[in-house]
């Protein structure tokens, strides 16, 4: 009994040390603007680039398809950590030696660039699956009305595809939140970096526990949201009124396709 109590006391002293918690919390909260900056910028650029890549991948021009395919394969296969180190340190060395100063990036721009380029590859796959899940008849109907390919995409296919990809994109976003912690290796002063620093100072891992709580506080609601959206989508497609014949079958078929095609957050990597 006594040893159990001792064990509990030791656990509390090392992982939930109240004194250190009180010191760490304000320290970590102060890093949140940097985390949000990384998140918002990386999300924005990766979605935009991902959408462009997905359209290129579905283009009728072979060069575009080839480029987008190669890009997606490369960045899906490349460790994000390596991407970060290369963009921050690798480019800086080249920049310093060659006089191309623009290659020397600050920590935050480097982190945003790496996160965006890698996540663009993931988003591109999600967008592509979403666009492909829209029945071919939609594009044909739009084209038959005289709309160009671009107009048909913009006004008919993409608005429907976006709705479908929101749940998987939410999963991407959750993964991105967690992966901002990788930016600590290029000394971006975000959550993990600051927690590790504090851990060194107090020689106690409690700051890591605090950082873990902060991450989880942000990710768990999003995880719940993502699964709620997914359930809603399933319900939505089942609730469609059958409209007779093959046309009535379309919604159900489409959603089955999507379920099979769309990468769900964890599955992609």
């Amino acid at each position: 009994m006594e040893s159990l109590l001792n064990g509990f006391e030791a656990f509390q002293r090392y992982y939930l040390n109240w004194q250190i918690i009180q010191e760490t919390v304000p320290l970590l909260l102060r890093t949140l603007p940097i985390v949000f900056e990384l998140l918002v910028l990386s999300m924005f650029f990766s979605f935009v680039l991902g959408l462009i890549l997905s359209l290129m991948r579905l283009s009728r021009f072979r060069a575009f398809r080839w480029f987008a395919g190669a890009y997606v394969d490369f960045f899906r296969g490349l460790p994000l950590l390596l991407n970060l180190v290369f963009v921050y340190s690798g480019l800086a060395i080249v920049g310093a030696n060659s006089g191309m100063r623009f290659l020397i990036l600050g920590e935050i721009p480097a982190a945003v660039l790496s996160l965006s380029t890698t996540y663009a590859a993931y988003s591109a796959e999600v967008f592509r699956a979403g666009i492909e899940s829209i029945h071919r008849g939609q594009m044909e109907a739009a084209r038959s009305l005289g709309m160009t390919y671009g107009q048909s995409m913009r006004y008919v296919v993409l608005p429907q595809a976006i709705k479908i990809v929101i749940p998987p994109l939410t999963n991407e976003f959750i993964a991105l939140i967690k992966d901002t912690s990788l930016a600590s290796v290029i000394s971006v002063q975000e959550l993990l970096f600051t927690a590790k620093e504090k851990m060194g100072v107090v020689a106690n891992p409690t700051p890591l526990a605090v950082a873990a709580v902060v991450y989880v506080v942000f990710t768990i609601p999003l995880i719940r949201l993502a699964s709620r959206l997914e359930k809603k989508r399933e319900r939505g497609s089942k609730g469609q009124k059958p409209t007779g014949g093959s046309a009535g079958k379309t919604p159900a078929l489409v959603s089955a396709d999507i379920a099979a095609q769309l990468p769900t957050g964890g599955g992609v990597r």
């Binding site: 084209r143 009305l145 006004y155 046309a247």
Partner: protein
């Protein structure tokens, strides 16, 4: 080609998917206000022919000329030609994220760049024409198949096309909903619209059609007045097919 009333011309049209030749030399001329009914067994190439007329499918050989414009010419702006051709599909293909009214308005707004007020008036009038003025604000999933198909017809008409293509538009409908769609098509025909109708509805063909075409295995087997063909098919293949559907 010189005849200004010629709307659609097909000259020796060949179309294949890989090794499968779906159209094997189609020659056809359709003049203004004709209602051409196309019948034939499934896989005979009827729908493919319709889709080629609208350039939804590329052809491998031959020529398709729409109101004097050669569709197969690489300099032709296909989008412009398509504006003159309305098409209605078996599976409706309404835009599910838009209301009935928005479905009808989209193309005139974006393609013809007409003003919103003008387009809305045209669209509401068309919904009245197809008997759906009370469904303007409903989304497609709130409409029956017959209602959806009538919206699809209104959507095609909103571009004020010179001709309309109907691709088995009643095949996906429950039997009791077929008549409401055929009636709209009948009114259109009476108003002088040039129409090409792929269908199995022999009653409609007999009543509204001005010409009937029987296709089989990628060629036009027989061509005649609908009443004449239904009563006295000349070709053996036509007799056999009509024997099965009538």
């Amino acid at each position: 080609m010189s005849d200004p009333t010629t709307m659609i011309e097909l000259h020796d049209v060949h179309k294949s998917y890989g090794h499968l030749e779906v159209l094997r030399g189609i020659d056809l001329q359709i003049t203004k206000s004709e209602v051409v009914v196309v019948i034939g067994p499934s896989g005979s190439g009827k729908s493919t022919m319709l889709r080629c007329i609208n350039a939804l499918e590329p052809i491998q050989r031959g020529k398709i000329i729409i109101e004097g414009t050669d569709l197969t010419d690489s300099k032709t702006n296909v989008n412009q030609v398509r504006q003159k051709i309305g098409m209605v599909f078996q599976s409706f293909n309404l835009f599910p994220h838009k209301t009935a009214l928005e479905n009808v308005m989209l193309a005139p707004l974006k393609v013809k760049k007409q003003s919103r007020g003008e387009v809305e008036k045209i669209a509401r009038d068309l919904l009245v024409t197809v008997g759906l003025s009370d469904k303007a604000d409903n989304h497609p999933d709130q409409l029956s198949g017959g209602q959806q198909q009538r919206v699809a017809i209104a959507r095609a008409l909103a571009m004020q096309p010179d001709m309309m293509l109907f691709d088995e538009v009643t095949s996906a409908l429950d039997p009791e909903l077929v008549a409401e769609v055929l009636n709209v098509m009948k009114d259109l025909a009476l108003a002088g619209m040039t129409m090409v109708v792929v269908t199995h509805e022999m009653g409609f063909a007999r009543e509204v059609g001005t010409r009937m075409i029987f296709m089989d295995e990628g060629v036009i087997v027989e061509e005649a007045d609908p009443r004449e063909m239904i009563a006295n098919p000349r070709e053996e293949r036509t007799q056999k097919f009509l024997g099965m559907v009538l």
